[in-house]
């Protein structure tokens, strides 16, 4: 239970002790710790291995910029790889493991890579592994891949749940450090609706890690007071543990809220918020960067600001004997802070005094540093400060470029900010506290005022205002060993110079060739030094060299958090037909058809397989009568004085003269001349029509009709309402369908004369329930479709089957429906696939030449109109016992099996109980002329090869006597 590096002070709760697991041991820490601070408190220096050379690495930072201390968090299916220990809020029973080593962390077998370093420089893999050719796939690449990556996924389904949500605010303040807090306070007091978000679990930002005072209180106390005042304002929402990761169009921000208390699988572990704002203030602070010097990657080499954070916020000593290496005043401040806490600072190396750290020693932890090539100093921790880089990422997500400011040696937000965003505080390059507070306050006040909130913003918080002077210094001169720039991806000064020497002079080339800044930390500490070194090598200025493009997300977001709750069965909505319950209770197997679940068939006891059920349903329907729920067809209520005219324009065939009480089959073409949907439209009154569309195209057709109505003919009086879900509609098909319906429909003469083929009527059923009756047939039998309000769906199905008992009426499913339509030769999705014309489908006569048909003109294009083009045909296996395969390609017998001789394909197949063999439909070049001839249906991918006889697509009742009977 010893935390040997723990010292007094800090913002942790020492009254509570937390146990946590690190690799094979239990360690302790306190609430307020991060995993990183707790590991340091326990004297754990070596925490991970680098990506390429597997160098020993320690904790480098105290925030999300951490390149080294990546750990695997959690266990089993709930483990997460590559999490920065510096961002993990310590919890009791937390499990964490180091990663990217073979064997124990201290004795990683792959550290042999480090010895090969001279041969593994920038882009080495592009220059070899090419011979012999076969070895790449078999040997080289598998090896490279097995070495790739840092952590590993569990390979099991993520047991956590996630959610998303939508928030609205006048003002989003990003970052709750001094600038963000004073901005939020000013705007909140003025009365604006404010969201204040910070990725840390404690508000205050750097104030928690420094010894500055604000309004004569300690910085962290001031932050606590401000947070308290803000939380008392109803119009302010405080969001700790919330990282704003992306700036999107029109004031939309993406944010990720962490819920550490969520139980696995109980409540969401993350909530991904889409925040709609009128204004945003970016107060994301700045990130300290390092200096490149030989062997600067040893455990114990740490950012100076991080050292202050561990001492001041976490009450942890990063070392026993420490040194500071700096090019700016922050380094000096670090020495003061640490000394004032009784820590031993043995030397301060300031490049401005001409001093440099030129080497280090200590394999698994820093033992000593070399100053100016000569003087070796024993230290176990070196605090390095290369200056601060404003966190400009969110200002660049709209491709705005930051601009270089020589005086602070840093990139600051450029002039072209995302609309509505202002930047304040350190993120804006303002590095002294007094000015930061002032800038934040006025930014908050201004934003509120611009939005019309005029309440008093209160007074400006006050603090000391010492400026931080810096003289840029990027890396210690060459030939003194490797100096790391990107610690995680193992990119050194030499790599950068070599890539420049090879011609990769663009900063984008540098990034892509060396992988600088492409690791999990996205180069938060390495990008600026890297391009400074590139600029130096090119003999160009940093401003000329520029930066790569900052892309969202600012910090990594779990894929599960973006998916939210759209998972498993709830990936997309499920639509049920009005008779779903009845079908479920009567043996139906269901199948996904788009979002719909439809009955495929109704299994009966004794039926061995689905074919038995389907064959029976077809036989009994054609033999007597069957009932099928066809409610999924799109239904559109069309009303208006000009409805007839409208329909006549959107269908390729004439509709002006359709009488009241009649239904007509209609075909729609796309404007490019290809067929895209078909269905029937019934005329219920002078001004009232009901259209059906295919199930698949219901929404598309409706949208296109609305476009025609609003944009092409805005002065036609016509109105559209989708009524797909409002009606339960059933096909009643078979020779006994009339007899069945006469027991259902109230007082309507169904005789062929009174209610002939393609008649329709509004009527009532079962003694008074309103209904619509259409005499249309998809099966080719004498058939009707009858529709009632959806609320009666299950009951109506029951009623129809009950009324059909004298005739052995059966319910039939989607498969039987499909079989009967193939037998009859009706086209469906497989033929009406957007690549076929009316002519190809044998519907050429339905394209009127007498009117302006949508798509009519482009249907005349030569390739669409060619006489030798594809035509719909029927197919039968020459050997009647053979089976057919949809997707087989059609060839002349004996023709070469290549695309040049490819004459079409099989679109649909079915077993016809009536014909007792398989049948099919196909699209074949010059198909109409081939009736009676024999072709080859060839399907190499399924190893099927069948001779087929080409025939009319109407396998049964070609004259249509049955449906008219």
């Amino acid at each position: 239970m010893s935390q040997k590096m723990r010292i007094d002070g800090g913002l942790i709760d020492r009254d509570t002790t937390l146990k946590f697991r690190w690799n094979d041991r239990w360690l302790t820490g306190h609430p307020g710790d991060t995993l990183a601070s707790a590991l340091l408190a326990n004297g754990e220096k070596l925490v991970g291995r680098s990506f390429k050379y597997h160098r020993p690495r320690g904790i480098f930072s105290a925030g999300p910029e951490e390149p080294n201390a990546l750990v695997e968090l959690g266990r089993g299916a709930a483990r997460t790889p590559n999490i920065a220990a510096t961002t993990i809020e310590l919890q009791d029973r937390l499990y964490a493991k180091s990663q990217n080593h073979r064997g124990p962390l201290a004795f990683d077998l792959l550290s042999v890579n480090d010895l090969l370093a001279p041969f593994l420089g920038a882009g080495f893999y592009y220059k070899t592994f090419m011979w012999p050719k076969a070895f790449w796939e078999k040997l080289y690449e598998p090896f490279i891949r097995s070495a790739a990556g840092l952590g590993a996924l569990s390979g099991k389904a993520d047991p956590d749940i996630y959610d998303h949500g939508f928030l609205h605010a006048d003002l989003l303040v990003i970052g709750a450090g001094p600038a963000g807090l004073s901005a939020a306070l000013a705007a909140g007091r003025a009365g604006a609706r404010v969201i204040l978000a910070d990725e840390d679990f404690r508000f205050g930002g750097r104030l928690n890690s420094e010894t500055y005072e604000v309004d004569n209180a300690s910085g962290s106390d001031w932050a606590t007071e401000v947070a308290a005042e803000l939380s008392s304002m109803p119009s302010v929402r405080l969001m700790p543990r919330t990282a704003v990761f992306g700036t999107y169009d029109h004031g939309i921000y993406g944010a990720l809220e962490r819920k550490p208390d969520a139980g696995v699988g109980e409540t969401p572990r993350y909530v991904q918020w889409r925040i709609y704002t009128k204004r945003a203030i970016l107060a994301a602070g700045a990130t300290e960067r390092s200096i490149a010097f030989p062997n600067n990657d040893r455990p114990g080499v740490m950012l100076a600001g991080a050292a202050r954070a561990y001492v001041n916020r976490y009450g942890v000593a990063p070392g026993k004997r420490m040194a500071v290496f700096t090019n700016n005043d922050d380094g000096l401040r670090t020495a003061q802070d640490l000394r004032s806490r009784g820590l031993s600072i043995v030397t301060v190396v300031d490049t401005r005094a001409g001093d440099q750290v030129t080497g280090t020693s200590g394999r698994q932890g820093l033992r000593s540093i070399v100053v100016n090539d000569t003087q070796e100093v024993e230290v176990d921790c070196l605090a390095v400060s290369g200056g601060w880089s404003p966190t400009v990422h969110l200002t660049c997500h709209h491709r705005g470029r930051p601009v270089w400011r020589e005086d602070i040696a840093a990139f600051v937000p450029g002039p072209d900010l995302p609309p509505g965003m202002t930047v304040t505080g350190a993120a804006n390059g303002t590095l002294s506290l007094g000015s930061i507070l002032h800038e934040g306050h006025s930014a908050g006040m201004t934003a509120a005022a611009e939005l019309g909130f005029t309440g008093s913003a209160g007074s400006v918080p006050t603090a000391s205002d010492e400026e931080v002077k810096i003289t840029p210094f990027w890396h210690v001169g060459e030939a003194k060993g490797r100096a790391w720039v990107d610690l995680q991806n193992d990119v050194t000064v030499k790599d950068i110079k070599q890539s420049q020497q090879e011609g990769f002079e663009s900063v984008e080339h540098l990034k892509r060739y060396t992988t600088l800044g492409m690791a999990t930390d996205q180069g938060k500490t390495s990008n600026v030094p890297g391009l400074a070194i590139l600029a130096d090598a090119r003999g160009a200025t940093i401003a000329e060299t520029g930066t790569t493009i900052f892309r969202p997300p600012y910090s990594a977001v779990p894929i599960g958090a973006f998916a939210g709750r759209s998972r498993g069965k709830h990936f997309r909505p499920t639509r049920l037909t009005p008779s779903h319950e009845w079908s479920a209770a009567n043996g139906a197997d269901f199948v996904e058809v788009g979002q719909w679940m439809r009955a495929q068939w109704y299994k009966r006891p004794g039926e061995a397989g689905w074919r038995d059920s389907v064959d029976r349903e077809v036989r009994m329907t054609r033999g007597s009568v069957g009932v099928c729920d066809v409610s999924t067809l799109g239904k559109i209520d069309i009303q208006g004085r000009d409805a007839a005219e409208f329909l006549n324009r959107v269908y390729s065939n004439p509709f002006l003269k359709l009488p009241v009480g009649k239904v007509r089959y209609g075909l729609m073409l796309r404007e490019d001349g290809f067929a895209y949907d078909d269905g029937t439209t019934a005329r219920l009154s002078e001004t009232h029509y009901v259209m059906t569309t295919t199930t698949a195209n219901a929404e598309l057709v409706f949208r296109n009709l609305e476009f025609a109505r609003q944009c092409l003919w805005p002065d036609l009086d016509v109105h559209l309402i989708s009524t797909t879900d409002a009606w339960a509609q059933f096909a009643v098909a078979g020779p006994k369908s009339r007899a069945l319906l006469s027991r259902v429909v109230d007082g309507l003469d169904l005789s062929n004369d009174a209610f002939p083929f393609m008649a329709c009527a509004e009527c009532t059923v079962f003694g008074g329930t309103p209904a619509r009756l259409f005499r249309i047939s998809f099966s080719g039998e004498l058939a009707y479709e009858i529709a009632v309000s959806a609320r009666y769906g299950d009951s109506m199905m029951d009623g129809l089957i009950t009324a059909g008992q004298p005739f052995d009426a059966v319910p039939y499913g989607l498969e039987a429906l499909g079989v009967m339509r193939v037998e009859k030769g009706h086209v469906a999705g497989a033929e009406l696939n957007g690549q076929t014309t009316a002519q190809m489908l044998g519907l050429g006569s339905m394209v009127s030449k007498k009117k302006d048909v949508m798509g009519g003109k482009l249907a005349e294009r030569p390739e669409l109109a060619r006489a030798d083009g594809l035509r719909l045909v029927g197919l039968r296996p020459v050997d009647r016992t053979a089976s057919l395969r949809a997707g087989a390609h059609m060839f002349e017998p004996g023709a070469p099996e290549d695309m040049a001789h490819d004459l079409g394909w099989v679109t649909s197949v079915a077993y016809s109980p009536e014909l007792s063999h398989m049948i099919g439909l196909g699209l074949v070049k010059e198909g109409a002329a081939r009736h009676g001839s024999t072709m080859r249906a060839f399907s190499p991918i399924t190893e099927e090869d069948v001779m087929v006889e080409i025939c009319s697509p109407h396998h049964i009742d070609p004259q249509g006597d049955r449906q008219r009977g």
């Binding site: 790889p81 592009y126 663009s506 973006f562 996904e592």
Partner: protein, 416 residues
């Protein structure tokens, strides 16, 4: 310098000081036989094959930014030849064959990794379509295998077979498909072209196309006028803008497609996997990052960035078929501009203006086409005749009706 293990050894032992430049940085000459506008993948491969296959070396490639800054710099690296239509499949199969010999061809390791592509199937209707497509692939000499559910399960046990909204029924598998290191492809072609005498001119933006009497005579650039016997435009993402300089309107809309990469992870995804009931495809890079994407945002854009709804849609698709990736974290997300044509297929053709040639409309299929696109464009430039496998990729096909519409979506670019 010829790259080899030996060179790496030698340079390593001597401090890696002698690695030569990948390519020269010449100033533009006043005239070339061929000026290629666009230093992305297709422009560079066109230059490479012009020099290597057709001996045309008095060539300049004009790039407004840095070499490889076209869509070859921001795609999801997938190579495949699994098309349906006669107008496409033989072309992409030629591309696949060129990929297979690429590294030896230009002495640069582009890490062509043939770990296969699996198109998941979720319904009987989709099965029939895939079988029709798989047969078309086989008939054009490509490889294609139909896997039933059991076969898919053996290959990818981590897919959701128990609880999926759209159950996985099987899949169309092309073993020779895979991925390649996209930047390295650009660098390899650039180096190969440069070594054969082609001038690669960076930071040189074309600002005008000179046409007189129906003939193209050269281009105006930020580095002066450059005359050319033939001007070849290959500027994915800027096709309409550049061709407008010659007064042409194209059957193209430019849309943004987002791409995504996770942090580096130990190998977990075998090849390329695509979702058949939603918008999601994924592979894993040599460095371990999950590289994935989905549908275009769906509105005209030149902004090279997308919006949240599509990010969500893509990740929903991923979780729908492989819920193991929930804890993998999205590291970087970017957008590229796709020149979406009216039938979803590209153009490699001469224009009605003598001496002006156009290569574009690749939608989001451009990367896999890089070798064949360059090869066939070079063929067109050198011979003034379309290569056999590209004979359907003509600009006039919407007049004749000879469209190449794999999806049957019609003239609605954001549906292709």
């Amino acid at each position: 310098m010829r790259y080899s293990a030996f060179q790496i050894l030698r340079e390593g032992l001597t401090g890696n000081k002698r690695w030569p430049r990948m390519w020269r940085t010449p100033d533009p000459k006043t005239e070339y036989d061929v000026v290629i506008v666009g230093g992305g993948g297709h422009g560079l491969s066109t230059a490479f094959y012009l020099a290597k296959e057709f001996g045309v070396t008095n060539v300049a490639v004009l790039e407004k930014g840095w070499l490889g800054s076209g869509n070859i710099g921001r795609n999801t690296t997938i190579i495949r030849s699994n098309y349906l239509l006669e107008g496409n499949q033989p072309f992409y199969e030629l591309s696949m064959k060129l990929w297979e010999g690429l590294e030896q061809d230009f002495n640069y390791n582009a890490m062509v990794s043939q770990r296969g592509i699996l198109n998941l199937c979720h319904s009987d209707a989709q099965r029939d379509q895939y079988i029709r497509r798989g047969n078309a692939m086989r008939l054009s000499g490509a490889d294609a295998i139909w896997l039933d559910q059991k076969g898919v399960r053996e290959m990818c046990p981590f897919l959701d077979f128990e609880n999926a909204r759209f159950p996985i029924q099987g899949g169309l598998w092309q073993p020779r498909a895979g991925t390649a290191r996209h930047d390295a492809v650009a660098w390899g072609y650039a180096r190969g072209a440069d070594q054969r005498g082609v001038d690669l001119i960076q930071n040189c933006e074309v600002t005008g196309i000179d046409v007189s009497g129906g003939t193209c005579t050269g281009v105006q650039t930020t580095r002066g006028v450059i005359r050319a016997k033939k001007v070849a435009v290959a500027v994915a993402g800027s096709s309409s803008r550049v061709m407008a300089m010659a007064g042409m309107r194209l059957p193209i809309e430019s849309h943004v497609l987002q791409a995504f990469v996770s942090e580096g992870l130990k190998p977990v995804i075998p090849g390329v996997i695509t979702f058949g009931a939603g918008h999601f495809y994924i592979s894993q890079s040599d460095k371990g990052g999950l590289v994935f994407g989905g549908d275009i945002d769906g509105y005209n854009s030149y902004a090279q960035r997308g919006n949240l709804p599509v990010v969500q849609d893509v990740c929903e698709g991923g979780m729908a078929i492989m819920p193991m990736i929930g804890r993998a974290r999205l590291l970087r997300n970017w957008g590229g501009i796709m020149d979406m044509s009216m039938d979803g297929s590209p153009f490699i053709d001469k224009t009605h203006i003598d001496g002006l040639y156009f290569n574009g409309g690749w939608c989001y299929g451009g990367f896999k086409a890089t070798p064949a696109s360059g090869f066939c464009f070079a063929h067109m430039l050198a011979t003034d005749r379309p290569h056999d496998v590209a004979q359907h990729m003509r600009l006039d096909r919407f007049m004749t009706g000879a469209v190449i519409d794999e999806r049957g979506a019609g003239a609605q670019p954001n549906l292709h």
